[in-house]
Amino acid sequence: MGDSNTITVDPFEEERPKETHFHARMAVLNIRENWAAWNGYKLANYFYDAEYEYFCVRNGCGTYDICGMQKYFVSGKDAEAMLNRMVTRDISEMNVDRVTYLVWCTDEGRLIDDGTVFKLGHEHFMLTCGSPSLAWLEKSCYGFKDVSIVDMSERIAALALQGPTSCEVLKKMGLKDIDTLKPFGIKHFPFGASKDKPLMVSRTGFTGDLGYELWIKPELALEMWDSLYDAGEDYHIQPFGEAALNMARMEAGFIMPLMEFNEALKTIHFRHDHTPFQLSLDWLVDFKKPHFNGRAALLKEQHDGPEYTLVKLDIEGNKPAEECNVYSDKGCENEIGYVTSAMWSPVVKANIALAMVKTKYLKGEIWAEIYYNKELRSYTKVSRCTVKEKPFWTHPRSRATPPLPY
């Protein structure tokens, strides 16, 4: 026991997860002390109850800490051309203050990561993604003279605000005309004592419902949190963790790394990564634009058709089909694919899953062999699956401008 004058050094300091810019507020609300980690940062798995938090997102609104997300400024005269060569989607038509979702691939057409590009100025972009991508970005600059990459990951505090009441909360917070912001639009707002507009809001998110993402410099992070929570008090605001996010994104049909896809640059076996076509992201590949990474391979993939296709499944019964294989027959003799994510959807009241299924079997019967546990005993159940074309959960308010009343 040292006295108060002793300087104690935490021998584990280097090993402990870093704390995000919002940690001080989130730590108080993390009653269950249930932390996960993301890119070296502490991130709540859940704060109080995962399902409760999920319902806050569907019923009121919730905040999700995205400080752990990677953010890169890509700037310079060649920034647009460089990004356009790197990603599969055409970003040359983008307007300033718009965001677009996209993916980028290896020369073999295998998916490296997905993310969003924010066009902040004519020669100034922000790329966000789940995994550190600095090395690949710098490699992608090869041949371009005027482009600079700056890793802003630690220099921008970011918080997602998602759910039906989210627009009302921002209005109450004083963000003028926030309701005129269109999906994938960006607006800048004054905040605090600052004379400029330090708060950037994009109408983006990962829950399939109305939602926004708030971007601000770290010094203002806690002030922004407080202002948001003051405004949100009467609109059922609640922090949510990774568990609730995972439920919401599955219902929206969004893909996650290490669930639906293995990042190509981290994949050992060449058959274990994916093309955008396999992930049903055909709409993100634009062959009409000039050359881009993986073009030739993707043209071939488009011509041949992907061996596997990611599909949405509605499964009989209520046992989540986690980590199970799917078959073309009830006897489970002909294996045709595997489930990537699965859950019981509380809002839709359906047993849902995303699954990679051999494309040629998609028209036929699909059966899942589900394993579940009951008081230490293991059981097996074979359930019929139906392919769904649309996301399990959508709401018209998520596309409407101004958003529909909550």
Binding site: N59, H236, Q238, G317, W344, P346, V348, K349, A350
Partner: protein, 539 residues
């Protein structure tokens, strides 16, 4: 047009469910409703601008998930949100906070009684076992134990198999359980009075029984057997109020071409040659149908909507004596802010859950004594929930409303009929009691809707304001519901059926009665069944 394949009387949730499944099978269906709004007792009403009350039923846990899924009620606007936590208040201000988190809940119980904290695990396991069995019967038609039809024999064998599956010891326990009082049943597990009273309160809700009355143990089970998304015993709120359930069912019905006619109370069910052929509305309109389905309670159906002469002898008397005593009131209170309660942690979760003003076993029994003597309880049991703390759509931002279910409140008072003055005094009794636990509560009140059994009967149509359409005692359960010999939804008049909570499996917003009746009707019409099988988490 006044000719239909089927007419369903009453646009409550079971009537709408029944109609939706008949319409799905291709029948031309009309639902007639006496009020100018649908929902019956699953209704949302804006009685004060900006506040939306669930005027009658206020939470649900028995809603059949299989039906929700099958009729795609989510698409029709239904979102069921589970609510967490519950605080029970004792006579002397002691509180017991019930947490969803098992560890937190154990610690809270342990503070009051380490013995009970431990015993609660066994109690929950036993209740879960009993509930598991009953739950399996919800979406099935009860067998007729006196019939030799293969279908009844099969169903009886199935039922027997389920019972035998419990094991010999449990079988005895189970039979005891059906006839015991809630208080006696809990005596075997618990020692602390507040904990016992809290658990026992589920045994009296909606029933003219006390915590010490035989039969109340089963009612307890009826209230803990539900689940929300597999969380057994959890309760959910419908976003937008309970009317959202009825509205979504109406959406499903209309999608299949079914129709609803409002302001169309039924004066009589038309009977020709021992067959139901239609209805006469209160305005004199005659509507004809091949099938008539009553979603009204058994007493109202037979004693008010039918001529005694049209019925086989005995049925009229059975209906007259059907046990459907009114025992509860409902007080909906609009509030200018969230009330704070003494002895309850003031955090964003706990003061938003439900409240149970239980007092003690003795207080609850004395509350029952008042009812027996023909007056409302002077110190009533109140079960409350603040839906606006969970649902942003039912009160203006920052404002709230509190649903208070009150037991006991008789349908008939010893000192003469109900009057508006007596109703107000009853309402004040409730406010006074809450004020004791939440000083300053009275100042928060913006508007109040006080409903005694008198108002519930007059507005909703439930005889004596009985929320279950008939008490849930063993003599009126399973193949005895509503009467022995008539438990399979077919009534003594040909082409006439019942689909309300007076039938198996009884009260609660479950959609099960309506769905079960639809399956029987379709079977009689030799049409393909449109009703799904139930789906269980614990199979």
């Amino acid at each position: 047009m006044n000719q239909y394949d089927a007419i369903v009387i009453g646009a409550g949730h079971n009537g709408l469910t029944n109609a939706a499944y008949l319409a799905k099978a291709g029948l031309e269906v009309l639902v007639v409703e006496k009020n100018d709004y649908i929902g019956g007792a699953a209704v949302s009403r804006e009685l004060h601008e900006g506040w939306i009350y669930s005027s009658c039923s206020y939470v649900c846990s028995m809603m059949r998930q299989a039906i929700h899924r099958d009729l795609n009620l989510t698409k029709h606007g239904l979102l069921l949100v589970p609510y967490l936590g519950n605080v029970a208040f004792g006579d002397n201000g002691e509180t017991l906070v019930g947490y969803t988190d098992e560890e937190a809940n154990y610690n809270a119980l342990r503070k009051i009684s380490p013995h009970d904290a431990d015993a609660m695990f066994r109690l929950h396991a036993d209740l879960a076992r009993y509930a598991q069995l009953i739950r399996k019967t919800l979406l099935r038609t009860p067998p007729d134990p006196t019939s030799f039809r293969p279908r009844d024999i099969d169903e009886l064998l199935w039922l027997a198999k389920q019972f035998w599956g419990l094991g010999e010891k449990e079988l005895y326990e189970y039979i005891r359980f059906f006839t015991m009082s809630a208080a006696d049943y809990l005596e075997d597990y618990l020692e602390n009075d507040l904990i016992k009273a809290t658990m026992a309160s589920a045994g009296i809700i909606g029933t003219a029984l006390g915590v010490y009355s035989p039969g109340s143990a089963y009612i307890l089970l009826h209230h803990v057997m539900g689940d929300v998304d597999g969380n057994i015993g959890a309760w959910g709120l419908a976003r937008g109020g309970m009317g959202a359930i009825s509205q979504s069912l109406a959406g499903a019905l209309q999608e299949s071409g079914g129709k609803i006619r409002l302001n169309a109370g039924v004066r009589k069910i038309l009977v020709r040659n021992q067959k139901a052929v239609g209805v006469v509305l209160e305005n004199g309109d005659e509507l004809h149908a091949n099938i008539v389905v009553s979603n009204l309670d058994a007493k109202r159906t037979f004693t008010q909507c039918m001529d005694e002469d049209d019925l086989p002898s005995g049925i009229f008397n059975k209906a007259k004596n059907f046990k459907i005593r009114g025992s509860s009131g409902k007080v909906n209170i609009a509030l200018s802010g969230l009330p704070k309660f003494k002895g309850v942690p003031n955090n964003r979760y706990v003061n938003r859950g439900g409240q149970a003003f239980v007092g003690s076993l003795e207080t609850m029994e004395r509350a029952y004594d008042d009812w027996k003597h023909g007056c409302w309880s002077k110190d009533p049991f109140i079960e409350s929930v603040i839906p606006s703390a969970w649902d942003p759509t039912v009160a203006p931002p920052g404002k709230h409303w509190m649903s208070n279910f009150v037991q006991y409140c008789p349908a008939e008072l010893a000192d003469g009929p109900w009057t508006p003055e007596k109703r107000n005094t009853f309402g004040q009794t409730i406010v006074d009691k809450i004020e004791r636990y939440s000083p300053g509560f009275r100042e928060l009140i913006v508007h109040m809707e006080v409903r005694t059994p008198h108002e519930i009967e007059a507005e909703v149509g439930l005889t004596e304001g009985n929320i279950f359409q008939g008490e849930l005692t063993i003599d009126q359960l399973l193949f005895n519901r509503p009467f022995p010999g008539y438990a399979q939804y077919r009534m003594p008049i040909k082409n006439m059926y019942m689909c309300g909570s007076s039938t198996h499996p009884g009260g609660g917003v479950s959609s099960a009665c309506g769905a079960n009746a639809a399956r029987e009707i379709l079977m009689d019409l030799r049409l393909d069944n449109t009703v799904p099988d139930d789906d269980f988490y614990d199979e």
